[in-house]
């Protein structure tokens, strides 16, 4: 089975085989074990061991590897093909901006319908006695705002939806 794995701005094609995986034209003898009662895993590629920790996210995996945390989205070949064949499916669709931590909504910096550029401040959340500013990742239009100033939010709470543009 072929999978498209996306993380840290890269998409990698990984194919599973009888004895392991194929990646970038290399056949690797690869196995993974779970350490009992923990998120720790032991990936073996040939004799090489790579310790990591993995937990499942919505439709992918969050990996702790080499002291880093990497979020990876996974699509199998069929899903990937369907998405590729339906261009524009994602474009212009509302994107959700969610709270990455608990805190107090100090200020909304934008209003509904406002067009923003990449880097525009959207919202400021106070946590650990610091003000944390969320900025737009790309150009787009604010579709709706769910957060209210002066209220507290929890991680994952919807803050606002945002229609991005191609490009």
């Amino acid at each position: 089975m072929k999978y498209y794995v996306t993380g840290a701005g890269e998409t990698l094609l990984v194919e599973t085989t009888e004895t392991g995986v194929r990646i970038a034209d290399r056949e690797l003898d690869a196995h993974i074990d779970t350490v009992a009662g923990s998120t720790r895993r032991h990936l073996r590629i040939g004799e090489r061991g790579i310790p990591l920790a993995a937990r499942r996210a919505d439709d992918g995996w969050v990996m702790e590897i080499g002291g880093r945390v990497v979020g990876l989205a996974i699509e199998d070949e069929r899903t990937h093909a369907i998405r590729e064949l339906a261009p524009g499916l994602g474009a212009g669709a509302p994107r959700e901006v969610r709270a990455p931590m608990a805190g107090l909504v100090l200020r909304l910096e934008v209003s509904e319908g406002q067009h923003v550029d990449s880097g525009t401040a959207l919202i400021v959340i106070e946590a650990m006695k610091m003000e944390n500013e969320l900025r737009a990742q790309g150009p787009g239009t604010v579709a709706s705002i769910a957060a209210k100033e002066g209220t507290t939010v929890n991680p994952g709470d919807l803050l606002l939806t945002f229609a991005t543009e191609e490009g």
Binding site: Y3, V5, T6, G7, A8, G9, E10, V14, T16, V21, I23, A24, L28, A30, I32, S38, T39, R41, L43, I45, I50, L52, A53, R56, A57, D58, D59, G60, W61, M63, E64, I65, G66, G67, R68, V69, V70, G71, L72, A73, I74, E75, R78, H80, L89, R95, R98, P100, M101, A102, A127, M128, M130, N132, E133, R135, Q137, P155, G156, F162
Partner: protein
């Protein structure tokens, strides 16, 4: 066991420093009393103390910053002394005085010494009188003309600083005369807001100095010793991240010179207990920055290269014991480095990360010290400082210490929250750090430290994810069916976890 210095001592703090002080008490045969706010009811410092007293809600002003409650808790438990740790009330002369007036011993210097060092312009004057080199500068200025006259004497670029405080508030760099007046107005207004005191003074601005500080220890019989230096140049927004001892640029002669000056500084304010005299160091010259009148976060690096337990000595001296030993001419022994492990995401503008720590494996083995205020199952909240633990290593030389720190950082496993572990790992491989080329601008000068995971790491992670995905798909999933074909993670990830997948998008406001 010898007679303990006090039968019982209250620790007016939380987190790793409270655990540190409680450990010192246990080793001295002192019963420890912890205090806790509501969310800290089962925090590590409470679990390790002999006694504990609740002191109010999460908000620090109603618990850890309420001196009256702390003194009442000490009385209620018959504690004879209060150790303030660092932060909170540790450098508040009124609290120190109130503790004494309640008939309790404050583990720290006399209130007058705290007050003298707390007022930055007064401290400057005192230090100048004591022959301690200070950055060329002015007294507090009253207006634009006054400031302009002082600026001409000092030269540009210069720095505006609040007389009443530190920590970056009310600070402004001024590079030319025409910038002076608007900068002065802003600095005065910031200082008024932050400290209730608008006074501002001018100092020459030093380009890329190092931060080097001297640990001192003084008893009540006039003995003041120094325990060498710590280099703390690696900072982010005036918060130290990595400290080491000895400094790569301090030799025996310079150490002796700085040590003598630090002892003079302490004597000038009648110091007692453990304290730190901070200097800026540039072009072979050092200048007094400030004195911290308390134990510091980074005290373990000095403990490792001297073998002296600073917290135990601090308590012994406060109990009226003489120091009773001399600094060893063989110090420093080897090399020590500390990395502060914070609950912050270094690839995401050091955004605080809270949540339950589901798994924790601390590094261990030769030369590794782990001072923490967390444990598996502990809920990291957003009420207090994000410092979770200090990873400190000791090696025969700087190279062995660095290699040991890298090995230890690789061993550390924390699940449930994001920590600064990966930032420290990047520093341990960065050529300027390896060569000891440091300045307080180090973090800003090395933006690559905050870059994302590289391709080999990503490939390994991708292979692991695919193998786990196949395993998962082969296993019946009773709870939730798979969703439609849209790759939700990919779409959301750029927004929910910006920085991890698409580059940093969050930042703290400066």
């Amino acid at each position: 066991m010898n007679q303990p210095p006090f039968p019982r001592l209250l620790v007016a703090n939380r987190g790793e420093i409270a655990v540190r002080v409680i450990r010192a008490c246990r080793e001295l045969g002192i019963e420890s009393v912890a205090v806790y706010s509501e969310p800290d009811r089962l925090a590590p410092h409470v679990l390790q103390a002999d006694l504990s007293v609740p002191i109010g809600p999460a908000r620090a002003t109603e618990s850890y910053l309420d001196g009256g409650k702390l003194i009442a808790a000490a009385r209620q438990t018959n504690a004879e002394a209060i150790h303030p740790g660092y932060g909170f009330l540790a450098e508040n002369p009124d609290f120190a005085r109130a503790v004494g007036e309640a008939g309790l011993v404050f583990i720290g210097p006399p209130p007058e010494a705290i007050a003298a060092m707390g007022d930055k312009t007064r401290a400057r004057t005192l230090m100048q009188d004591a022959g301690v080199p200070v950055v060329p500068g002015s007294d507090a200025v009253t207006g634009g003309q006054d400031a302009a006259a002082a600026a001409r004497d000092i030269g540009f670029p210069l720095m505006l600083k609040a007389a009443a405080g530190g920590g970056g508030k009310g600070m402004r760099i001024v590079r030319a005369l025409d910038e002076l007046e608007p900068a002065l107005n802003r600095a005065r207004s910031e200082a008024e807001q932050a400290f209730g005191d608008p006074r501002v003074y001018l100092e020459r601005f030093l380009e890329r100095p190092r931060h080097i500080e001297i640990q001192v220890l003084a008893d009540g019989f006039g003995t003041v010793v120094h325990l060498g230096e710590r280099e703390c140049s690696i900072q982010r927004r005036h918060q130290k991240l990595i400290e080491e001892s000895p400094s790569p640029v301090v030799d025996e002669a310079l150490r002796e010179r700085m040590g003598r000056v630090a002892i003079e500084a302490a004597r000038a304010v009648g110091y007692q207990g453990a304290g730190t005299v901070e200097f800026l160091f540039v072009d072979g010259e050092f200048y007094f920055l400030e004195m911290n009148t308390r134990i510091q976060v980074e005290h373990p690096v000095t403990e490792l290269v001297t073998g002296v337990d600073l917290v135990q000595e601090q308590i012994r001296v406060a109990a009226g014991s003489p120091l009773g030993w001399e600094p060893d001419p063989g110090w420093p022994l080897g090399h020590a480095i500390e990395c502060r492990i914070g609950g912050e995401d270094p690839f995401n503008g050091f955004l605080p990360s809270a949540g339950r720590i589901t798994e924790l494996e601390a590094p261990a083995g030769p030369g590794v010290r782990w001072d923490s205020g967390i444990s598996a199952g502990y809920e990291v909240g957003l009420h207090y400082d994000p410092l979770l633990a200090k990873l400190v290593v000791h090696g025969a030389d700087r190279l062995q210490a660095i290699n040991r720190m890298r090995r230890s950082l690789e061993e550390l496993h924390v699940a449930g929250i994001i920590t600064t572990q990966s930032f420290h790992l990047a520093v341990m491989e960065e050529p300027d750090f390896l060569a000891g080329r440091l300045s307080i601008e180090y973090v800003d000068d090395h933006p690559d430290l905050l870059r994302d995971a590289d391709l080999p790491l990503l490939e390994a992670a991708a292979i692991a994810a695919v193998l786990l995905e196949e395993e998962r798909r082969d296993t019946p999933r009773p709870e939730s069916a798979r969703t439609d074909g849209r790759p939700r993670v990919r779409q959301l990830s750029g927004w929910q976890r910006a920085g991890v997948t698409d580059g940093a998008g969050w930042g703290r406001r400066s």
